[in-house]
């Protein structure tokens, strides 16, 4: 294929877009619309996932109750031993007085009940943060070998439940996104098909005059690609500004706390831009390619 032919094809692709601009606009609109929906769902799923992970991190600790009557040195030694276990990130000491105070706070309105206590039944304890959740069982096993420890409190069930829920959300989210990707692909390729169908006569004539399949195909494939990319661009912009706006509203209306749980606009954009470009251009080009086959058979 000569350079001039390549140039010709690129030019034809653009010219085709422009001369059929009514249809081009309709197609780009449909592509953009389906990608916007995809973007919407991806944003939701990723954010829910993010919230689940952050929440999980808060329960992500082991509490070690110490025996009564240990002296300061013994406590310190236990602390150091714990600190040297593989996978332990941070060790914090909580005295029984501190523990009662914390508990009262946590109980809020019902905290007054604790004032009726005869004596403080709570133990001194260490609170351990882990590097990753997977280390938990190993750390607990190590802790059990230590002396001076009464009980190991590990929110195993809560964490496991959270992991389960997070896993479920992730699965549902992935399935949802997958379905939506398929739907978007379907709509985009259908749109391209309808666009080409309106021009089947044109394609037939080219064949009758002696053009090879590739000569006819390339401009259409490039046109499909341009359609897809334009749609993707619009979708990215809509999702970007839509997300930014929502982010803003949530920060304003609720405390900053809530938006701290949301994924930043930047990070969000990386995902959508690359995904949408590939989807739009790829499906556009492939859709053209496949839909053309039928018309080229003359």
């Amino acid at each position: 294929m000569k350079i001039r032919t390549v140039k010709y094809m690129f030019r034809q692709g653009l010219v085709g877009l422009w001369r059929n601009r009514g249809m081009s606009v309709a197609s780009i609109g449909s592509v953009a619309a389906s990608l916007v929906v995809l973007g919407l769902i991806i944003t939701l799923v990723l954010n829910i996932n993010n919230v689940a992970e952050l929440t999980q991190m808060q329960f992500d600790s082991i509490q070690v109750y110490l025996n009564e009557g240990l002296d300061q040195n013994e406590v310190q030694e236990i602390g150091q031993r714990i600190g040297s276990i593989d996978g332990v990130q941070l060790v914090e000491y909580e005295s029984k007085e501190q523990a009662l105070k914390n508990m009262k706070e946590r109980w809020g309105e019902q905290g007054y009940l604790l004032e009726y206590l005869e004596n403080n039944p709570l133990p001194n304890s260490f609170i351990i943060s882990m590097e990753t959740l997977e280390d938990a069982d190993g750390i607990v096993a190590e802790l059990q070998k230590l002396e001076g420890i009464d009980e190991i409190k590990y929110y195993k069930e809560i964490i496991e439940n959270l992991l389960k829920i997070a896993g479920f959300i992730r699965t549902v989210g992935l399935v949802l996104i997958l379905i939506l990707i398929l739907v978007a692909m379907f709509i985009i390729s259908n749109t391209i098909k309808l666009t080409l169908n309106a021009r089947r006569q044109e394609i037939n004539i080219m064949k009758y005059v002696g053009a090879t399949n590739w000569f006819i195909r390339w401009p259409f494939v490039l046109e499909g690609m341009a359609l897809g990319l334009s749609g993707a661009l619009i979708a990215v912009l809509v999702v970007y500004f839509g997300y930014q706006y929502t982010f803003q509203i949530i920060s304003d209306r609720f405390t900053v706390m809530v938006s701290a749980y949301m994924i930043g606009t930047r990070a969000m954009m990386h995902t959508t831009i690359s995904m949408f470009s590939v989807l739009g251009a790829g499906v556009g080009a492939l859709g053209s390619f496949i839909s053309l086959r039928k018309h080229l058979r003359v």
């Binding site: 001039r4 032919t5 006569q201 044109e202 080219m206 009758y208 005059v209 002696g210 003359v298």
Partner: protein, 228 residues
């Protein structure tokens, strides 16, 4: 050289468009294909272009059996044959210039050649001042002439014309005939399906007459031959 051996063509609805056609057209001949409406003239031409497949029989072009030609080689066959279609078949989204240029672009001609050749053939058919118009902005006769210009722009070795003067006034028709005759003199085989009695009678060339799909007459230096 065009050769047909025992060619039959039956369309879906059971219409027998061509029945047992045997003929040979030598290189450089000028042949008129005549016959009443629906006789099978366009079908004859469509078979040569592989737009339709014969139900039976064999067709050779330049000693090559085109009935078994692979799909991929069809475009190259078509490029060798310039065709003026009965229904013009112009690209609706391209201007007159682009429609003619397209035939050159597919054989990857240089822009220089295109810029030289296209205006020349548009001049030959009298459409120099219509180059930038779209087909729907043309009169019937003008569309027909664009189709003619596209067919001859690549100097094909075979030129097939299906009713090329149906929408032209006698004067313009004769202009076109002169162009075809001139191309024929340069060695191009010309096959022309037509109803233009006067033209056939004056030109005194080989006439093949079809009737209900059969060859009823094949005459050197013939006349249109139907009395009214």
């Amino acid at each position: 050289m065009i050769e047909m051996k025992g060619v039959n063509k039956v369309y879906q609805k059971g219409v027998q468009a061509l029945a047992n056609i045997n003929l040979k057209i030598e290189k450089g001949e000028f042949v008129f294909l005549v016959g009443p409406s629906g006789a099978g003239k366009s079908t004859f031409i469509k078979l040569l272009l592989k737009e339709e497949e014969p139900t039976e029989g064999q067709i050779n072009i330049d000693s090559q059996d085109i009935t078994n030609l692979s799909r991929r080689k069809v475009p190259y066959l078509r490029r060798n044959i310039g065709v003026i279609f009965q229904d013009f078949r112009l690209l609706p989204n391209k201007t007159v210039f682009e429609n003619v240029a397209f035939a050159m672009q597919i054989i990857e001609a240089s822009s220089k050649d295109i810029r030289r050749q296209v205006p020349m053939v548009l001049g030959m058919v009298g459409l120099s001042d219509r180059a930038s118009q779209y087909p729907h902005q043309l009169s019937g006769g003008e569309r027909q002439r664009v189709s003619i210009a596209r067919a001859i722009v690549n100097n094909p070795s075979i030129l097939i014309a299906d009713e090329p003067t149906g929408n032209l006034d006698p004067e313009t028709a004769w202009e076109i005939m002169k162009v075809l005759r001139q191309i024929n003199r340069r060695g191009t085989t010309v096959l022309m399906a037509t109803h233009a009695k006067e033209i056939v009678d004056v030109m005194q060339q080989r006439v093949i007459a079809l009737e209900r799909g059969k060859i009823v007459r094949d005459q050197q230096r013939g006349a249109y031959g139907y009395e009214d």
